[in-house]
Symmetry: C2
């Protein structure tokens, strides 16, 4: 029997729910409490927290509460970035995950505040869980900070869209790759393992995911992915599909997934993790491409 | 000779500058790096970080790096809230600290991202300094989180402005008081002291500051305080001046300051701290009131 037989998806949903429930008290402003829940549930694929949890499991997962706090923190930071990205001053997206985007539902002020509150909630959960594993806390926090903040996290990635010249690799690494690196390294750190070998796994997966996202944006109808598509061209954002073409981009995606799998260090959970990586990568591929690649 | 003879103001400015310089690298998006600096320098009165540092000094300040990280974190969170509060969807303020507000200077996207990046930077600095004092880190983080997040921190306070009914005490405690409580309790925690007796000091000072802010808003010309005034009436926000009148509000302010001073627990730095509190409270009072009260 493994130490944590509960299915990863259940652990993640429970951790997210518990964190939001904890901060939704009689003293909370009711709409912000509702908006927090709206931003997080129902979720997307939960790719990043699943990856975080899978790495922690591969490294022993000896402190489940801190693993779950790390996985939840990664997802909260991701949801925060989605809510702020959808704002009228950025993508002005009317839908997200198949329903009205948060600012369409709750208004722009609560959308700004929801993103802020989700960032804080990410650190909140880690601080609480970390009280019983203080020597892991600083490293975990730093892994999260690198994934989301300046100079190379999501916020920096988003800020490159306001620059007259955007270096495409730096932009993608920050906007997408950084949180994947945070997910793998935080998974290792939560289990008390050395995060160093897990960086490359996150980097390659982030690269694969960014290409999959560009492909989805270029090829899908909005109904298939629950948000507006064709945005990269419309907003003149760098896109590997534009640079390499559909076929070239898909070849690059497959190479990234292979590199990610090859980078997984020897550990008990290596095979399961490799399977998860391949399954997630396929799931993100537009159906047309998945079929042509079958 | 005291262990930290450097003047508090110098320690605070140096800590803020070092943190921003550290995340402004060759890889940073240049405008976001500039915007971070613009949001933080030149500063206002730095009331909250000075309070944090003064409490830490009163408690021994045996780990100056973590004290400075805590004080800087408090100020970064405060600056983040100012940048987001000034956005068009909230106060739509064109000026702040006597210069164009951040979104007027850098545009709305970078203003949203600057607030986000400042929140992350607050936790970043603590995580770094906390690596060498791991047993203080979790408590410090939780003190910050309570000051800024849900259910009763700044973000919650701001969210009450979107509610049809706003309980005025809850709103003020969250929007203003919470970060003062974070400042006093984080100061104690940074020095390894029990934060409990310091909560009341922060609460009373937060109350005093809120009244001072309401008085400034009601009585000053914009040129005197570097931001638009008359906003409470214009935006129909709760205000103690509206509820109690100018005289009543000023009496309440003085009572809060007296309660804050009375709540300072016995410690070496008690007298210096009481002097600081009184000086800061006077500084925040509109000149007209200060003169009439002299």
């Amino acid at each position: 029997m493994t130490p944590n037989p509960t299915a990863p998806a259940i652990r993640i949903e429970a951790a997210l729910d518990a964190a939001i429930t904890r901060v939704s008290t009689a003293e909370s402003p009711p709409q912000l409490a509702s908006a927090l829940r709206y931003a997080v549930f129902p979720g997307g694929a939960r790719v990043r927290p699943k990856l975080c949890l899978a790495v922690a499991q591969a490294c022993g997962d000896d402190h489940p509460a801190i693993t779950e706090a790390a996985a939840a923190a990664i997802e909260f930071l991701h949801c925060a970035s989605l809510v702020h990205d959808d704002l009228p001053c950025f993508d002005a997206a009317a839908t997200r995950r198949g329903k009205p985007s948060l600012h369409m539902m709750f208004g722009e002020p609560l959308a700004v505040l929801t993103g802020d509150a989700l960032i804080v909630l990410a650190f909140d959960g880690l601080a609480r869980a970390g009280a019983r594993a203080p020597r892991r806390l600083s490293g975990l926090l730093s892994a999260l900070v690198r994934g989301v903040g300046m100079p190379t996290g999501i916020v920096a990635g988003q800020a490159w869209e306001s620059e007259p010249f955007t270096p495409v690799e730096t932009y993608h690494r920050a906007k997408t790759g950084a949180l994947f690196v945070a997910a793998t390294t935080a998974g290792a750190l939560a289990a008390g393992a050395d995060p160093t070998p897990w960086r490359a796994v996150g980097e390659q997966l982030g690269g694969a995911y960014q290409i999959a996202d560009d492909l989805l944006d270029a090829l899908s109808a909005p109904a298939d992915c629950g948000k507006p598509t064709g945005q990269d061209v419309a907003l003149q954002r760098p896109s590997l599909v534009r640079d390499l073409g559909v076929h070239g981009a898909y070849e690059r995606l497959k190479a990234c997934v292979a590199s990610a799998v090859a980078a997984i260090p020897a550990c008990d959970g290596a095979k399961g993790l490799a399977d998860l990586v391949r399954a997630q990568a396929m799931r993100l591929t537009p159906q047309e491409l998945a079929r042509s690649a079958a």
